[in-house]
Symmetry: C2
Subunit: 308 residues, 2 copies
């Protein structure tokens, strides 16, 4: 029996490949919370008195996020924001699990139902020219709505459950595609550069997907058991699998090194990336770099299709 | 039987995974030569009347390089430069194969023997604190001597056999380590930024290691059959294997995309990388960013060890 490297008394249950450490459950939970706190402190993500919106999907990452935030900062003004995307079976499943959990945590929850409040769901994009990029469209819709709700609710910062695996996949893809625009935006904290844009924070950006899964599982936090039927076979999932199953096998520190090297050594060179001018969308008034924002462009086409 | 995608008449022998093309031997050789010529033209590597030194090791890459240069530019003033590194069996094996081949090509060959001309070989570094980084030390020694010989021989450009696999491994490693210094130097052509530095060109930078192997093999060019005994298990070989056996399996265009994206989109941001001031080494007079150049620092220690 191997003992925990931290307490040296209980049996080790978890092996962290990137640091070659073995931990027992209790020490893992302490380690997890300490590391999230260190990340929040290092990037000055939260200030006293701020109202923090947490984007909660019902998945393990955002579930772990809202729980750990409440535990680390019991008196913090937290609000959950949940978008029901109208994806068959999946969305209602996520919604039900989440609602009960947030209630138990005694945190207010803002729910937004795409189908009920806007008259369409993510499924309506399947038939359009964006059908093949459905995850990217869904990302645009979510970013827009989360920001709009946070802005209207006078939320100071919007916290999302992005984990290290999410971020490393994006960095890997940006290097591969030479996507400097997206690369220059990768950061644990995104300041608000327009009065109608809410600053975004990623408190779990240093935690792997597996660590979030373990944290949520050991604490028996309820999270969705279904995976999104629309995301099957998408690029991001494929590249995450390549990174976890192939690259990390050879270079266990790969994810941590790639992100830290990016932040410390590479990102400073992209500070000069041209900040585009921000206008207000002529339809919805929300910030955009063009005449009409991406959300209005996408949804107007879908609304038209539904009416036709 | 599958037919060649280019001539549509002969049986295809080669499958290029990154472009999904199948070629017969003749069309592959034409394709190879055309692509090398395009690379040379695109980066303006060679000008009329220049004297080009080709670093020849006896391996498939530099053998393919000197042959294809002679074939593409029959009247070019070419000179082979070969360093005998004094590595047991390996170096003499390389030297013998190479000497005969270059003679047949009717190209002058400059040979430099480390053991005979400097009194030490690469083996002498094995016992030092650099023993674990022997490939990196060997690289420093080779770069220094090749430049010195080229400079003394009034050579205008020094061509090396670096292939796409070599370059992509370096880019991958620089991203991982955040090594901005090395990253900013990656280029198909390195201009001479000091009178004693000879410009360097990499005409095979767009060709994969496999393409060079196939080119040399189909033309029955003689190249070494032994691999360097000192390079076993080094980082670069491990990461090349990871890239070829794991990443390219999932993303066949990985190597071409990573390099092209780097050149076109990422590299421009490193143009601002501080160009260090260049001095002349107080011992040998060759260019260095410090008081004493890396070659003199390394070799003086080894010479001392030998004398002791």
């Amino acid at each position: 029996m191997r003992l925990c490297h931290a307490c040296l008394s209980k049996p080790a249950e978890i092996f962290l490949d990137y640091s070659q450490r073995r931990l027992c459950i209790d020490c893992f939970l302490k380690y997890y919370e300490k590391k999230v706190k260190q990340t929040i402190d290092k990037y000055r993500m939260i200030k006293v008195g701020e109202k923090i919106g947490v984007a909660v999907s019902g998945g393990k990452d955002s579930t772990a996020l809202i729980y750990v935030l409440k535990k680390l900062y019991p008196s913090l003004n937290l609000v959950g924001i949940h978008l029901n995307l109208g994806i068959k079976e999946y969305s209602n499943h996520c919604n039900e699990i989440l609602r009960e959990f947030i209630k138990k945590l005694n945190i207010p929850l803002i729910e937004f139902n795409l189908l009920k409040q806007l008259g369409f769901s993510i499924h309506d994009f399947e038939g359009t020219e964006h059908g093949k990029k459905i995850c990217s469209i869904c990302g645009t819709i979510k970013r827009y709505l989360l920001n709009k709700i946070a802005y209207e609710e006078r939320i100071n910062k919007l916290a999302t459950g992005h984990n290290l695996d999410d971020i490393v996949e994006v960095i890997f893809n940006c290097y591969l595609q030479g996507d400097v625009t997206q690369l220059s935006r990768i950061s644990p904290i995104t300041p608000a550069n327009h009065p109608k844009l809410v600053a975004r924070i990623k408190p779990l950006c240093m935690m792997t997907e597996m660590e979030n899964l373990l944290y949520a599982s050991y604490l028996e936090l309820p999270f969705r058991s279904l995976s999104c039927p629309l995301s099957k076979g998408n690029r991001s999932l494929k590249q995450k699998r390549l990174i976890n199953e192939k690259i990390v096998q050879e270079i266990p520190t790969f994810k941590h090194m790639l992100f830290k090297s990016y932040l410390k050594r590479i990102a400073p060179y992209f500070k000069t990336y041209p900040n585009v001018e921000i206008f207000e969308c002529k339809y919805c008034g929300m910030p955009t770099s063009k005449d009409v924002c991406a959300f209005c462009r996408l949804t107007q086409r879908v609304k038209k299709l539904i009416v036709e």
